[in-house]
C-alpha cells in the first residue's frame, strides 16, 4: 500500500513539474479564469436600464409631462428622441435607435379625468424578446401607478404586493455570476485533463508511463489528482472575485460549496479522461471538449431555465452534472440553503461523477 501511495505521489509531482515548466501555463490556469469571469460576469445580464425610448407626445400638457417624467425617473427608460409624427417613431424602431415607443394621445390630460379614461400606447421592438418583455412589464407598471395617483379613492380594489426573497433588487448578476463560476470550473478541468493525456500520447511519453511500474489505476489517479487540485484552487480564486469584486452575497456554508465542487470536478475529470481516450491529437481533444461543453452549458439552466424546456429535455438534464451543480451553487450563494434542502442534487452529482469517472477509467485502461 505504501508503495502505491508513493508511486502516485511521484506521478503527481511529475505532472505539476511538467505543467509549470511552460511559464505561459500559469497564466492560462490562474489568470484566464479571472478575466473570463470578469467578462462573463458583466456580459451575462438580463437586467434592463436606460432602455432607448422614443416619445410622441400629442398632448403636451403637464399631465403628459409628468407621465414621461415617471418613465425616465424609474431609470429603466431614457428618452432618445421625440417627435410629433408617428412615422418618426416607426423609423426609430426600424433602425433600432429605440426599443420602446411611447405615444401619448391628444386630450390625454382631459380624458384621464373623465369617465372614459385615457390610453397611452406602448410600442415595443420584440427582436430582443427578453429586453422587450421586461420593459413591457415595467412600462405597464409605471402607467398603472400613474393612473392610481389620479384615481378617485376606492377605485383600486386589489393591490398586489410582491416581495422578492433572496435578491430584493432583482439583479440578474447575483444569479449569473455563481453560475459562471460553475461553467468555468467545468471548462478548466475538462480541457486540462483531456489535453494533458493526449499531449503525452502525441509526444510519445504515454508509452513510457505504461511500461513503468504504475498500474492503470495509479496512472489515472496521478493524472487526475493534479487537475482536481488546480480546479479547486481556481474555484477559490473565482469565488473570491465573485464575492469581493461582484459583491455577490454568500449566505450558505463554504463547506457545502467545497463538497459539491469536489463531486462536480469528478464528473469533469471523467469526461476529460473519456475524451482523451477517443482523441488522437490535442486538436481533436479540444474540439471534442467544445462539443461536450456547449450542450452541457445550454441544457443546464445556466441561461435558459430548465422549467422552460420541453418535458423530455427536462428529464435529460437530470443526467447533466452542470445542472445539479448550478442548483447547489445558486442555492448556497443566494438562499443559504443547507445540505438537507439540496440532498437530491448532492446524490445526483455523486452518482453521475463516480459513474462517469469509472466508465472513463475502464476505457482508459483498455486503450
Amino acid at each position: 500500500m505504501r508503495g502505491r501511495a508513493e508511486r502516485v505521489a511521484a506521478m503527481v509531482v511529475k505532472e505539476f513539474r511538467q505543467m509549470f515548466r511552460d511559464p505561459r501555463m500559469a497564466r492560462v490556469i490562474f489568470v484566464a479564469p479571472v478575466i473570463q469571469l470578469l467578462v462573463f460576469g458583466y456580459a451575462v445580464s438580463t437586467d434592463i436600464a436606460n432602455t432607448a425610448t422614443f416619445l410622441v407626445d400629442h398632448d403636451r400638457t403637464r399631465a403628459s409631462r409628468e407621465l414621461v417624467d415617471s418613465f425616465t425617473a424609474s431609470g429603466y427608460f431614457r428618452i432618445v428622441g421625440r417627435s410629433d409624427r408617428p412615422l418618426d417613431l416607426v423609423r426609430a424602431l426600424e433602425r433600432g435607435e429605440a426599443v420602446v415607443g411611447l405615444t401619448i394621445p391628444v386630450n390625454f390630460a382631459r380624458d384621464s379625468t373623465s369617465s372614459e379614461g385615457a390610453r397611452v400606447q406602448i410600442l415595443l421592438d420584440g427582436t430582443n424578446s427578453n429586453t422587450a418583455s421586461i420593459a413591457k412589464g415595467y412600462a405597464e407598471r409605471i402607467v398603472a401607478d400613474f393612473g392610481r395617483r389620479l384615481a378617485p379613492r376606492g377605485a383600486l380594489a386589489l393591490e398586489l404586493r410582491d416581495r422578492p426573497w433572496f435578491n430584493p433588487n432583482l439583479e440578474s448578476r447575483d444569479y449569473n455570476v455563481p453560475a459562471v463560476v460553475g461553467a468555468l470550473i467545468m471548462l478548466i478541468s475538462l480541457l486540462l485533463t483531456s489535453l494533458a493525456v493526449v499531449r503525452e500520447r502525441e509526444i510519445g511519453t504515454l508509452e513510457q508511463l505504461k511500461v513503468s511500474p504504475l498500474t492503470a489505476g495509479e496512472l489515472i489517479a496521478g493524472k487526475t489528482i493534479p487537475f482536481a487540485v488546480i480546479a479547486l484552487i481556481d474555484l477559490a480564486i473565482v469565488t473570491a472575485v465573485a464575492l469581493y469584486w461582484f459583491e455577490v452575497p454568500f449566505r450558505g456554508r463554504f463547506f457545502l460549496l467545497l463538497v459539491a465542487s469536489a463531486l462536480y470536478i469528478l464528473s469533469a475529470l471523467g469526461v476529460g479522461l473519456f475524451i482523451s481516450t477517443i482523441s488522437a491529437t490535442q486538436q481533436e481533444a479540444f474540439l471534442a471538449s467544445f462539443l461536450v461543453f456547449m450542450p452541457a452549458i445550454l441544457l443546464s439552466g445556466f441561461m435558459f431555465p430548465v422549467t422552460s424546456m420541453p418535458e423530455v429535455f427536462q428529464w435529460a438534464t437530470l443526467l447533466n452534472p452542470v445542472r445539479h451543480y448550478l442548483e447547489i451553487v445558486r442555492a448556497v450563494f443566494l438562499k443559504g440553503a443547507g445540505f438537507h434542502a439540496l440532498s437530491r442534487q448532492f446524490a445526483a452529482l455523486f452518482v453521475i461523477g463516480t459513474s462517469i469517472l469509472l466508465f472513463a477509467a475502464t476505457r482508459f485502461r483498455k486503450s
Binding site: N50, S115, V143, L158, L160, D174, Y175, Q283, L287, L299
Partner: protein, 371 residues
Amino acid sequence: MTSKRLLAVARKEVLQLRRDPRSLILAFVLPVLLTVLFGYAISWDVDNIEIAVLDQDRSKASRELLDAFRASSYFRLSAFLDDPDEIERLIDRGEVRMVLVVPPDFSRELGAGRTALLQAVVDGSDANTANIAMGYARAIAQSYSLRIAFAGSSFHPPVQAESRVWYNEELSSRNMIVPGLVAVIMMIVAAMLTSLTIAREWERGTMEQLAATPVTRIEVVLGKMLPYVGIGLFDVFSVSAIGVLLFGVPFRGSPLLLVPLSTAFLVGALGLGMFISAITRSQVLATQIAMVATYLPAFLLSGFMFDVSVMPPVLSWLTYLIPARYFLVVTRGIFLKGVGVDVLFVQGLLMIAFGAAGFAAAVSAFRKEIE
C-alpha cells in the same frame, strides 16, 4: 492569378476536409444541432411557473381570484398551503417560484370598498424569471381589480397602457436567437475550421510543397477560402430553413440582401481565422486564439443573447469592435423587421469593409517563404 490554379488549391482543400470527419461534424452537424437546441429545447420564455397558494380567507372572492391565476397559462397552481411556515420551506427547496398569500380580511375589505391586499412572495434568486412572473401576476391582479371596481359602471380607469409588440409579436426567444445563430455559426466555422488550414500545412510540412508550386498568395488564400465560403453559406441556408420551416421564425425581408451581406461577413470571418492560423503556425494555438478572438465575442458581446446596451461602459465600447454586432443588426433586420438597404446601409458597408479587411489580413500574413 489563374482560375485553374485557384480551383486546384480549392480542390486540394476540399479533399483534405473530406478526410477529416471531425471537421465535417463541426461544419454540418453542429449548426443543425444548435438550431434545433435553440429552436426547440431551450428558451427564455417563462410559462407554467409553479406557484403555491396560502388562502387565509377561503371566500368566494378569493376563489375567483385564484381561478384567474389558474386560467392563465403562465402559472400552475401546484400546492395549497395551510400554514405560513410552509412558504419558506417550499421556496428554499425551489419547489415553487412564487407563493400567493390571500390575507384573512380579503373579502371583507373588498366588500367594504376598500383596497384589499394580495401578497406574492417570490423566489428572486433567478431575477429574470422572478421579474417576468411578477409582471404576469400584477397583470392578473389588475384586471381582477378593474373588474371589481368598475363592475356595472360606465366608469373607466383613468389611464391604461396599451402595449403592442412589433417584429416578434409573441415575444419568443426563438425568434430572437435563430437570426443571431447565423452569425454565431459562421464564427464557429471560421474559428474552428479555417484557423487550422494554414497552421496544418506548417505542422505537416506540406507548406514547403505549396511553396514550391507557382501559386500566388492571393490564389492560396482565395482557393483555401472557397470551400469554407461554400460551407458557411450552406450553413446559413440550413439554419434559416430549419428556423423558418420547422420553428416558424418569420423571414420578412429579402434573401437577395441576406446572401451578399452574409458572404461579405463570412469572408471577413474566414480571413480573420486564416490570419490567426498563418501567424501562429500551430493548430492548437490557432483554434484557441480563434475561439477567444472570434467565437466568444460573437456569442457574448454581439447582443446575440445579452443586450449590449446594459453592459458596463468599457465592455459596451468593446462591442463596437465586434463585427458580429453589426451583422446581427442585419440578420435580425432582414428576418424579423423586414427592412431593406435603406435601413441597413451603414451595416452593409461595414460588412463589406470587414470582408475586405479580413481578406487583406489573411493575404498579408501568409508567407510562402520558408525561413
